[in-house]
Amino acid sequence: MQESTFSAVPLVAVLLPWVSLLAILAFPKRAEKLRLWLCFLGSLATFGVVLSMLPGILDGNIYTIKLASVVENLEMRLTVDTLGYYFGLVLTFLWLLATVYSISYIDHKHNRFFAFMALCESFILGCAFSANMFTYFIFYEMMTFGSYPLIIHEETTMARRAGYKYLVYAIAAGTVLFFAIVAHYFWGNGQLGFGRYGVLSLEFASRAALLTVFFTYLAGFGVKAAIMPLHGWVPDAHPAAPSPASALLSGVILKAGAFGIIRVCFNVFGVDLMRELKVYPVVAVLACITIVVASVFALTQDNLKRRLAYSSIGQVSYIILGLAMLAHDGALGGVMHLAHHALMKGCLFLCAGVILVKTGKKNISEMAGIGYQLPITMICFSVCALAMMGTPPSVGFVTKWLLGSGSLEAGLPVYIVVLLASALLNAAYFLPIVYIAFFRWEGDEVEEHGERHHPKLVFGKEADHELVVPVVILAALVIIVGIWSNVPGFPYSLVSKVVNVIFP
Amino acid sequence: MKMGTALNLVLILLLLTTALLAVTARDLLAAVVVFSVYSLIMALMWQRLQAPDLALTEAAVGAGVTTVLFVITIFKTRRREEE
C-alpha cells in the first residue's frame, strides 16, 4: 500500500459535528434559530473539511492518524483512503442537506434530534475513515445506538415499535459482527487492518474457518444492508422516522452496512480469496432474491415511505450484486451505486417529507393531483423516480449500465435478467406515483362539507426554502452526476481509482 | 490398645454424642447447654493434643462466651423449636 501520511484532518472531520452538540449544550433553551444554524454550520464545516482533502486523495495520498492502540495489531486508527473518502464525502454531503432540511422540518424536541444527528454524523464518518475492522466496529456500534433516537423521534406507538424492532435487529447483528471480528482476529493472524488486496489467506486458517468469518460478517453487516431475510426492521423504521432521518437511514446508514461488506470483500478477503472460497455465488443469489422480492413487496405498499423503504432494500442489494460479480465493471457499478442511490433515495424521502409537511398525506392513494400543489417537489420526485428505473441520463442509468456490463464480463448474463426485471418492477411502483400526482384528479371524489366533489387543484404553494432547496440540489445532482461522472470528486473519479487497482 | 488411645476414643465418642444431642434436642436451651459441654470436651481433647493455649481459649470462649451469647439470644427469643 502506498505510504500513508500523518494528518490530523480526519480526526478534525470526525470531531467537527460535535460543534453542533456543543452549541446545543451551550444554549439548550435560548436562541433557537442561532442554535439550529450553528448545527448547520457544524455540518457544513464537516463537509468542508472532508472536501478539503479531495486534491490530496486524487493525488493518491492516504491520510492517517492513530487514536489509540490497545495492543499491537489492535488499534483505533483513522485512515482516509480513496474508498473511505468516497463514502465520507457522500455521507457528509447528504448529511449537510438533511440538516438544512431538518431545520424547518423538525417541529418538536429539536435539541434531541440535532444532537443525535450530529453524533451520528461523527460516528458514521468514523466508520468511513476507519483503518481497520476494530475501529469500524466501534464506530458502527455507536452509530447504531446513536441513530435510535432519530428513528423514534416522533414518539408515536408506531415509531416506538419500529425503534424496538430496529434495536433487536441491530443488537443481534452487532453480536454476530463482534463474533466475526473476533474470529477474524483469531484466524487472520491478528491482522484486522484493511489491505489493498485483502489480509486473510488460506495460509493461516482453514477453509471452513474463513467461510465462517465471511458469513458471520455477511450476516452482521447484512442486517444494516438489509439483505433479504435480515431486512425486517427497514420497512418499519423508515416510515416511522422523520423524513430527513429516513433519508439518512436509507442514504447513509443502510450504506454503512453495505460499505462494511465492500470493505470485507475488497480489503479483508480480497478478490482472489473470494474466488478461491467460491462464496460469491451465494452472495449473488441472495442479492438477486433481495432485488426482485423487495421490488415485489414495494408494489403492494400504499404508504409512500414504506414503498420507498422496500425500494431501498432492493437498491442496496445492487451494491452487493455488483461486488459478487467479481468483475471490474460490476464492482465499479456496485460501489458507485452507493453514492447514486444515496442521491436518489435521499431526494425521494425528502420529497415524501415535503408532502407530509404540506399536505399531511402519507398514502399514495391520497396523493391525487399533488403535483400541481407542490410542483417543484414533485418534478424532482419524478426525476428521481425515473432515475431509479435507470432512465438515461441519470445516475441510475450509469449503475445499470455498469452492472450489466459487469455481468457480461463475469460471463453470467442471467444477472441482466434480474436487472431488467428490477427495472420493470421499479417502473411499476414508481410510475403510478408520478401518474397519480400529475394526471389523476378527476376520478377521485372526496367528501367534504357534506357534499361530494372533486378536490380543487391548488397551485404553487411550495414549501419553505429550507425544505425545497435540498430536494432541488439532490435532483439536479442525480442528472449532473449521471452525465459528468468523472468530474473530480464525483463517484467515478474516486471509485475507478479503487477498482482499477483491484481489477487491473 | 494403649491407655491414651482408649481415652482419646472415649473423648471422641463423647464429642460425637454431645454434638448429635446438641443438634437434635428440641429444647434450645438444652441444646445450648449440651453444646457448652461439647466445647468443654473439645477443650479437654485439645489439652490432650498438647495445645494448652487453645484448650484455655476454647474453655473461655467456646464454652463460656459463645454459650452465654446463645443463652441471651434464647432468653430474648423463644426457648422451643417451632413445629
Partner: protein, 127 residues
C-alpha cells in the same frame, strides 16, 4: 488402615458433616448456628490434630524442653485466630437473630423466608 490411624481427622470430618447437615436441614435458626459452631470447632480440631506429634509436648520452652519433641505450634496459632473469628460471626449472627425475632416473630427459617415482602416503593426506608 490409614483411616483408623487418623481417627482424629475422621472424627473431625464426621463432626464437620454433622454441622453442615444441621446448617442445611434444620429449620430453626439457633440450631443452624449451633451447627455452624460445630462445623467450626471440628475444623479447629482437625488443625490441632494436624500439629500433633506422637509423644509430643506442648511448645513451651521451659526447663530445656527438647524442641524436637514439641508439637507443631503453627496450627495452634492459626486456630486461635479461627476461634476469634468463630465467636465474632456467632455474635453477629445472634444479634441479627434477636432483631429478626423482634421483626418477624419466628425462628423458623422457612417461615422467615416465606414472609411476604411489603409492597415495593418506599419499602427501603423506615420511619
Amino acid at each position: 488402615m490409614r483411616l483408623l490411624h487418623n481417627y482424629h481427622y475422621a472424627a473431625a470430618m464426621l463432626l464437620f458433616c454433622l454441622g453442615l447437615h444441621t446448617v442445611i436441614v434444620r429449620r430453626n435458626i439457633i440450631k443452624k448456628l449451633i451447627g455452624l459452631n460445630i462445623m467450626e470447632t471440628s475444623v479447629f480440631f482437625f488443625y490441632i490434630s494436624l500439629g500433633y506429634l506422637e509423644g509430643g509436648i506442648a511448645p513451651i520452652r521451659t526447663g530445656g524442653a527438647d524442641p524436637a519433641r514439641m508439637v507443631n505450634p503453627i496450627p495452634q496459632a492459626l486456630i486461635l485466630t479461627g476461634i476469634v473469628v468463630a465467636v465474632s460471626v456467632t455474635a453477629l449472627a445472634l444479634s441479627m437473630v434477636i432483631l429478626l425475632y423482634r421483626q418477624y416473630g419466628t425462628l423458623d427459617v422457612d417461615r422467615l423466608m416465606r414472609e411476604e415482602e411489603p409492597e415495593a416503593g418506599e419499602s427501603g426506608k423506615e420511619g
